[in-house]
């Protein structure tokens, strides 16, 4: 039994079956951006049940994600998905939408609810309101700094879950601009967003999933684990919904080992770990908003770990 939880996100059964989850404690199933994402667990309820069983068979906590921006016509399917999740013994559902939170609380009270990053928890008072709707864990909005997160932790009776590594969600749309290129590229949905696409301009870069926009750089908190642990955080996400199984396995191995060392009082990071993270971060590394700066900036002792595009903090340039 770990003193921490390391989890990730997997969108479909194919990806789940191809992934080595040794270093994870739990997995959120489903793509939160698009109903048409290839064999999305949230639409393929047979796959979802099988996915939950696979996770349980491996001794992992099995969570189910929900859509970040559901309209009225999503809700009947969401209800069926929640029903299937309860029946298959999901440990919790993650909600980003307060309407879905309300449905889960009223119609599926036995299902614990984790509140996701798109639910816009910026304040301790906001978390308190949602605790009244049955929420038991919170991912604060990604825009918050560690100091602001600490303000929530100090008064919130429920644990917070933090993005530890990976592409940070930046936005969600109802429109997939990639569909405009189906004919020109000769690639159809749902294969379009499987192409590892990056929007770039100068030293700016964002990863595109069509309806989902993610950071181009990988948020990396490897050298800040001692602070996170000292501030009582124990639930961590490595965001891999748009990554390949190698990324998922190797990055988790780095963090699992580093967390164990940090808990034992050793916060040092070996060179091989940096090399692994650098190899997977094609655009570079950043800290998101954790240090109160632009999300693409990096603050730390390892500027050489940043990656290929110019990433020196603008304040220092």
């Amino acid at each position: 039994m770990n003193a921490f939880e390391l989890n990730t996100t997997i969108a479909n059964l194919r990806d789940l079956q191809a992934s080595d989850l040794t270093d994870y404690d739990g997995v959120y199933l489903g793509d939160i951006y698009c109903r048409l994402y290839e064999s999305n667990f949230l639409e393929q309820l047979g796959d979802l049940k099988e996915g939950l069983h696979i996770l349980h068979d491996q001794g992992k906590k099995a969570y189910v994600a929900t859509y970040a921006a559901p309209r009225n016509d999503f809700l009947p399917k969401v209800r069926k998905m929640l029903e299937a999740s309860v029946a298959a013994g999901a440990e919790a559902v993650e909600v980003h939408n307060l309407g879905i939170l309300r449905i889960a609380h009223e119609e599926f009270p036995e299902l614990p609810v984790h509140v996701g990053g798109f639910a816009n928890i910026y304040t301790a008072a906001g978390a308190e309101v949602l605790r009244g709707f049955g929420a038991v864990r919170f991912t604060p909005n990604y825009e918050l700094s560690l100091d602001e997160i600490h303000e929530i932790t100090a008064t919130c009776g429920a644990p917070l879950e933090l993005l530890l590594h990976g592409k940070m969600p930046l936005g969600v749309s109802d429109y997939c601009f990639l569909l405009d290129y189906e004919e020109k590229w000769g690639v159809k949905c749902p294969d379009l967003c499987q192409k590892e696409l990056f929007l770039k301009q100068g030293d700016w870069a964002m990863k595109s999933l069509g309806k989902g926009i993610l950071s181009g750089k990988d948020v990396c908190m490897l050298e800040h684990l001692p602070r996170l642990l000292a501030e009582s955080h124990r639930h961590f996400r490595i965001e891999t919904v748009s990554e390949n199984p190698e990324y998922r396995r190797e990055v988790a191995a780095v963090y699992h080992a580093a967390l164990k060392r940090a808990l034992a009082g050793d916060g040092d990071v070996d060179e091989r770990s940096w090399e692994t993270l650098r190899r997977h971060a094609h655009i570079g590394l950043c800290n998101g908003f954790y240090f109160g700066r632009s999300g693409m900036d990096y603050q730390g002792l390892r500027p050489e770990a940043l990656g290929s595009l110019p990433t020196i903090s603008r304040a220092e340039s």
Binding site: N97, T123, G126, R314
Partner: protein, 322 residues
């Protein structure tokens, strides 16, 4: 009777909007609303705005629609208490914790859930109703059918943006701008400002409107991808929205020049009055209004593209050293 709600980024705009037929005005106290601080107001100006609005028979709403920090809720409540004592008619808000606190402290104050709350489905509306919200701004992406369903099923006031931007992403669920540039400062009253983060009350650099190149690996697939972000004026929908009995038609644009906002407000005042006088929404002749709107649209587009160019240049500026 449908209400025409107008923006005001300064006192002359309050006067102009009232004089041109707005039923209600909204303003933002400095540091607490979703706009650049130059389009927000000091507390004394908010007080003056309340007086101007009330003297002209209009209501005055105050926008506290940032996603604030935990420790900012107490000073927000103090400020709200001041505005309530001055007779403010309602608060436009986003943060659910702040909404719940305001409702508890001022149970008779009308709370409007801001566009930033990104209320997308009927269950969302029910959630916000349960924490004290009585009117919600509809997301710009919702269809008339979705609005009709909301109106039919839930006892809630509906506000429709009739002049606003339709972003690529859902508003309130996007932090592309601060990802690229976030400048945190503190004003002379100790209020933290977040230049670059619209959700937190700072300006939006509109980075989505950059001309993006699209890559997969080393291969460039496209030279110029635009993530759609269009400003719009609703026109054809107005008679149908009035027929649907939405409570409020809202014009955004605190950042525009006073004469332009006056023209927009006058246009919609006249259009709403004509619709109300018309026996049937389905047969209302919108054609003459289209040509009148065209010149306003041209002026707005010019101002907006200048603004976007300036913002994208600002977004590339180095941050001041800490």
């Amino acid at each position: 009777m449908v209400e025409l709600l107008a923006p005001a980024g300064n006192l002359p705009m309050v006067e102009g909007a009232v004089a041109n037929g707005a039923n209600a005005i909204y303003v933002g106290p400095r540091g607490w609303s979703r706009r650049r601080d130059q389009y927000e107001m000091s507390d004394e100006d908010v007080r003056a705005a309340i007086k101007i609005a009330h003297a002209g028979g209009a209501k005055l709403r105050v926008a506290f629609n940032t996603n604030m920090q935990s420790h900012e809720i107490a000073p927000m409540l103090e400020k709200m208490e001041r505005f309530v004592s001055w007779g403010v008619d309602g608060a436009i808000m986003t943060d659910i914790g702040a909404i719940a606190e305001v409702h508890q402290r001022f149970p008779h104050l009308t709370i409007h859930a801001s566009i930033g709350a990104n209320i997308l489905n009927n269950e969302d509306v029910r959630f916000y109703r349960s924490i004290g919200v009585s009117q919600v701004v509809a997301d710009t992406k919702l269809t008339l059918r979705e609005l009709a369903s909301r109106k039919e099923q839930i006892d809630v006031g509906i506000e429709i943006l009739i002049h606003a931007n339709k972003c690529y992403t859902y508003l309130g669920k996007c932090w592309m701008s601060p990802y690229h540039r976030l400048e945190r400062t503190t004003d002379s009253f100790g209020k933290d400002l977040f230049k670059g983060s619209p959700n937190r009350g700072g300006l939006d650099y509109r980075v989505c409107m950059e001309s993006w190149e699209l890559y997969s690996g080393e291969k460039k697939w496209e030279n110029s991808v635009a993530l759609k972000n269009d400003a719009f004026f609703l026109l054809e929908d107005i008679p149908h929205l009035i027929k649907l009995k939405v409570e409020c038609l809202k014009v955004q644009g605190r950042e525009y020049a006073v004469p332009l906002v006056e023209r927009i407000v006058r246009f919609y005042r006249d259009l709403i009055d004509a619709c109300l006088a018309s026996p049937d929404a389905d047969t209302f002749d919108i054609a003459p209004w289209r040509s009148r709107l065209a010149s306003i649209e041209m002026e707005r587009d010019s101002a907006r593209s200048d603004g976007t160019r300036q913002l994208l240049m600002e977004a590339r500026q180095p941050l001041p050293a800490i």
